[in-house]
Subunit: 114 residues, 2 copies
Amino acid sequence: MEKIDGNKLRGHLDAMVLSVLDQRDAHGFEIMQQIEKQGSGALHMKEGTLYPALYRLEEAGLVKAQWEDDTSSRRGPRRRIYHITVKGKKELNRQRVTWRQFVDVVGNIVEAPK
Amino acid sequence: MEKIDGNKLRGHLDAMVLSVLDQRDAHGFEIMQQIEKQGSGALHMKEGTLYPALYRLEEAGLVKAQWEDDTSSRRGPRRRIYHITVKGKKELNRQRVTWRQFVDVVGNIVEAPK
DNA sequence: CAAGGTATTTAGTCTGGCATAATACCTCCA
DNA sequence: TGGAGGTATTATGCCAGACTAAATACCTTG
């Protein structure tokens, strides 16, 4: 499947991240993989895109992050586990409404018959 | 109805303009009005957005423009009438496929149940 | 001739997704 | 013992394109 142009994702990424975190807590790398996976191969989320988005969401109080207790003998560096807040859930609900409206309105124009 | 954030429109505007022109030839101002109208009031297309987009489309050979013969006694300045080209129609078809894919893929993530 | 709706052009700003690279941690294996 | 490779985060700077804003111009009406 063809990759979706990044420009088209502008403004929709926050909703995607919140939705993934609404399913379960996750660290950055995991969110990236989850989005790629659920995106049927049409999305290629990169670090430079995801992490700044997470910082924005944290700044806005929509998610909280905490460093994982690194007692385990997992390989790799410590991870920041992200968790959606109550405020974040409310925002996600709003974003979902907005998403449906967007699809409706833009779809109505793009798909307009002659 | 709440206005859709301009960021969300990035990358989708060309398809909207082409689709409007696929319905009938129109001048810039008319396209703006048409999009606002078909957008159920949720879109507020402004000149600074539309005209540069039209120049890009013309540059790319997707639309052709010609100055209206101003024989009539209409009020206002001369208008540039835009017309979709064969290349533009092909592009519109591609964009429609892309649009459906976008809605599918992003919707699948944004609307994902817990 | 000023006011107001129509129509286009242009200049400049800003958001946010992208590419790239640096850093670091851990395991495995030569 | 060190380098290859997968995991994970941080930081820098680029750039497309939608936005705001204002200038210009045309025609009608009061």
